[in-house]
Homo-oligomer: 307 residues x 2
Amino acid sequence: MSFDILQEKIREKKNPTVAGLDPRIEYVPAHIQKKSFEQYGETLAGAADAVWEFNKGLIDALCDIVPAVKPQSAYYENMGWQGMAVMEKTIRYAREKGLYVIADIKRGDIGSTATAYAEGWLGVTKVGGTECPVFDADCVTLNGYMGSDAIKPFLEECVARNKSAFVLAKTSNPSSVELQDMVAGDRVVYTVMGDLIERWGKDTAGKYGYQALGAVVGATHPSVLKELRRRLERTFFLVPGYGAQGGTAADVRYAFDELGRGAIINASRSIMCAWKKTGQDGLDYQEAARNAAIQMREELKEYITIL
Amino acid sequence: MSFDILQEKIREKKNPTVAGLDPRIEYVPAHIQKKSFEQYGETLAGAADAVWEFNKGLIDALCDIVPAVKPQSAYYENMGWQGMAVMEKTIRYAREKGLYVIADIKRGDIGSTATAYAEGWLGVTKVGGTECPVFDADCVTLNGYMGSDAIKPFLEECVARNKSAFVLAKTSNPSSVELQDMVAGDRVVYTVMGDLIERWGKDTAGKYGYQALGAVVGATHPSVLKELRRRLERTFFLVPGYGAQGGTAADVRYAFDELGRGAIINASRSIMCAWKKTGQDGLDYQEAARNAAIQMREELKEYITIL
């Protein structure tokens, strides 16, 4: 199962961190922007070129420190098809460098639509008699509001191709309470969703005991992390909200099992934009990102020992 | 407000139907596929070219019958960046033909990520000092599981640019019961979501009384349509599930107010794939699609009079 692969990469690097690749154009250092704009103008093609250069540099700088990267689709879609071409190239490049790639797409749709999404992001699209890989990530994020119909086509690809998916349970943002914390009988919406995730994923556990369907649980709710970790023994967690949003290493330790397994913590801006704090105009963006990733690894090590 | 524009287009055509553009490659007639594959091979580029030809033909055939089209992002993403280029061209072409375009993306994410999505699909992306339109649809579909943080950036674009969005409330698929029908006190999840949608959209009502945030409510639940129509007086409905999924004209009449306004009914395969039933190998796909759309308009007319 695919979470075995991720768990092993985490163990190799002794680091349960995934670096978000969420490149707004203003996160790209000026010298990279300048070069791309000189060639393509201030256009979507220019922005896409700059982001691609930035991503390559980040992946080169991080690939021996972090086990995984998580490109967020929104930051590519907002550059149109040129951006999506960069998303494709970024996923391919990161996998070539040995990184586990989580495509953060939060898709959720039904029937043949869910099948099309699953083909595009994890599987292959059949064109006539030819099977064409498309984005071909290791893992995606999903939204389960529509129920199992939206998840099953992805789960089938996970099982067939040794891939995985995280479904939103309790998110890190302030307004997550509006729906996710609704009380229904003796449960709340996020535990119902957690239970569904564990039920949908049954019979797909790998050697570390985790099923192919994981859950997104925000770092900003340590008590929820603790509760869901106890409740969902076979569910791997993707934990956003570390750093800028307020989650600390002390908070996220509850996402892990007693062997320090079963979770990965996301950091995006604190790594990508680390160069903004060094006063060198981004010329040192690779070194700054690398140092930030090492610092986060060391922070987590204070609380989490991965066996 | 943007739903005024949609309502006026519905009135002009006397037809509250949106035609889904969900083109799996096998929905494209063989003669179109053949031509594209001869030029590009059985590749994603070949598939994308075939889909683009098919879409143009459908839009030409339908643009005086239906007020709106709804391209579903999944069927473009599964052809990678080439597919996304077709999504961009399809939206532009349909708008040029006077159609209202709903990009069916069901996105839902937070903070700067939601902003990036909103820029890409409704607004503009700033590149240096230049504002670049990207997909530039009239309307999108959204998923509100993460709460208002995921909706607000879109709502801001709606207000600033006279656009609109539909948020999932009660979907048409069988497994929608798993989460959406959970009972919480005296409400169920889909009414909570409906109430949130109406609250988030407040102060954005146009001259027909509908706010810039609408709701998706499936045709397969007529009693829910009736209940939510009464409950959410200012919320425009997008109703999927007509035809293949079992919803009838008699069912969907409950989506409309007493003036026959406030809703639009989706049909995808019954129009796109109408050629599969005429025995002419798809050479007549335009005529078949047009006839299917006219037939649906006439079915709806039995129950709904638009004033």
